[in-house]
């Protein structure tokens, strides 16, 4: 019984995905919905094969701008998170600014970036960065700020310095928070780079979709959407795997969502 449940759990996401595509296919072909309104999965697949070369090229562009922006977000987010979490003064000073900045829709910021850096790669990287660093800051800061005071007292009573407390307890303890934020941040980074590409670029999946939709090539638009989705899932799973490897101590409940 136990084995059965675990295989069922493993197969469930694949089965559901296949089921959704099947229903989609049946509805599209059954109701004879034209491709320029809502392409059926088969049409999307055909279009994906037809444009495999360009899709690949644009997808790689999107992937690398996303990863570059994400890497920037991780470094900046972690440093800022450590500063905000470790010092109440920095926390008080930065938090309203951070929240305010995060509330600005990043798509509104792209034109500014274009004025500064021109169209193309750099605005895409920066938009990915801007949209994805906030969860990293908040999570790392939360991990540090929720440190049990007794734990701190144990170390302080031994004469530990602040940086020792940070290294021995603060950072390891905030690692699970950090990894949780990476999973959110990587998906947001895709949102950022694609937004920037749709607005101001002649490269990337975002640009590909914009130009396809302007020529009413809806199967290609959907192929682009699916490629972004697949890249997002793959990156997410990669970080989920790293999380389980590095902070297994924090995930002892086998039923907890990974």
């Amino acid at each position: 019984m136990a084995i059965k449940t675990s295989t069922a759990i493993k197969a469930a996401p694949w089965l559901l995905t296949v089921a959704i595509f099947l229903v989609w296919e049946v509805i599209c072909s059954g109701l004879k919905i034209p491709d320029y309104l809502m392409p059926a999965p088969s049409a999307i697949w055909a279009s994906g094969l037809e444009y495999a070369g360009p899709i690949m090229m644009h997808a790689l562009q999107t992937l690398w701008t996303t990863l570059a922006g994400f890497a920037l977000a991780v470094v900046v987010g972690m440093l800022l998170g450590l500063a905000v979490g470790a010092s109440p003064l920095v926390y008080k000073a930065c938090y309203p600014l951070l929240v305010g900045f995060n509330s600005i829709p990043k798509v509104a910021f792209v034109p500014v970036l274009v004025v500064w850096f021109g169209i193309g790669t750099i605005p895409a990287i920066l938009t990915a960065f801007l949209i994805s660093f906030f969860p990293v800051v908040v999570n790392v800061a939360t991990g540090l700020a929720t440190l049990e005071p007794e734990l701190e007292d144990v170390l302080r009573s031994l004469g530990a310095r602040r940086w020792q407390i940070l290294v021995k307890v603060g950072i390891p303890r905030s690692l699970p928070f950090f990894f949780a934020s990476l999973k959110v941040a990587i998906t947001l980074a895709f949102v950022g780079s694609v937004i920037s590409e749709t607005v101001a670029s002649n490269l990337g999946i975002g640009y590909l979709m914009m130009s396809a939709s302007s020529s009413m090539n809806m199967p290609l638009v959907f192929a682009g959407l699916i490629v972004i989705g697949v890249m997002g899932v793959v990156m997410y799973e990669l970080f989920a795997l790293a999380e389980r490897r590095l902070t297994g101590w924090a995930h002892r409940n086998p039923n907890a969502p990974g």
């Binding site: 734990l151 007292d153 144990v154 009573s157 031994l158 530990a160 021995k168 690692l175 101590w249």
Partner: protein, 259 residues
Amino acid sequence: MSFVKFENVSLAYAPGGANAIEDVSLDIREGEFVAVVGPSGCGKSTLMKLVSGLKPPSNGYVFVDGREVGGPLKIVGMAFQAANLLPWRNTLDNVMLPLEIVEPFRSNLKKEKAQYTADAEALLARVGLAGYGSKFPWELSGGMQQRASICRALIHQPRLLMLDEPFGALDAFTREELWCMLRDLWQEKPFTVILVTHDLREAVFLADTVYVMSKRPGRILVRKEIDLPRPRPLDVTYTDSFAAYVHELRDHIGRIRES
């Protein structure tokens, strides 16, 4: 010659606010086992923060080992009601944490790693955790975690051990087991202990001297020497003289609660 000395100590957490403890004076010899009892919220834990130098007093003076306390002391080990073991370290690494911070261990850690590991394992064996060093804290029961926590408090051979209700969250049987464990550790190589508790039996069984504190603001109301012969077997808790001590302390606490 007293080892820990309080002279008319008061502490208010907020400047100008209400005192958590007020006008506390006490004298503790080196190697003495002291228990502090009192109603909850009477500032027992505050007392610990003052001794360990985590908080400076608002008024009065705290001396440890003949010197006024001016900051966190390194000769102190602490354990709390929650074991507070680090979940990403196994039990052995948890116990050895102080060695990574306190000098001279910190500087010698690389050279003496094998020796220190052996010491830590011996200490774990002493408290009945032989072979559990590689287990992670969540794989241990509450009582075992608390044993490991006390090992961590003792590994750097502190001259002063401070225990803040360390057995409060355990069931009665485990608690008595751990009393005996602590008694044996102390009997073998006496160090100064300040045990904060609200279990009067625990206080009488373990301590040389019991201090009773009043409600907030905490003051020392009674100092009672426990004149039971050592080593004390657990059976001593069923004798009349033991019961008389507990009874007397209970009366004091009862009066505080009514007032």
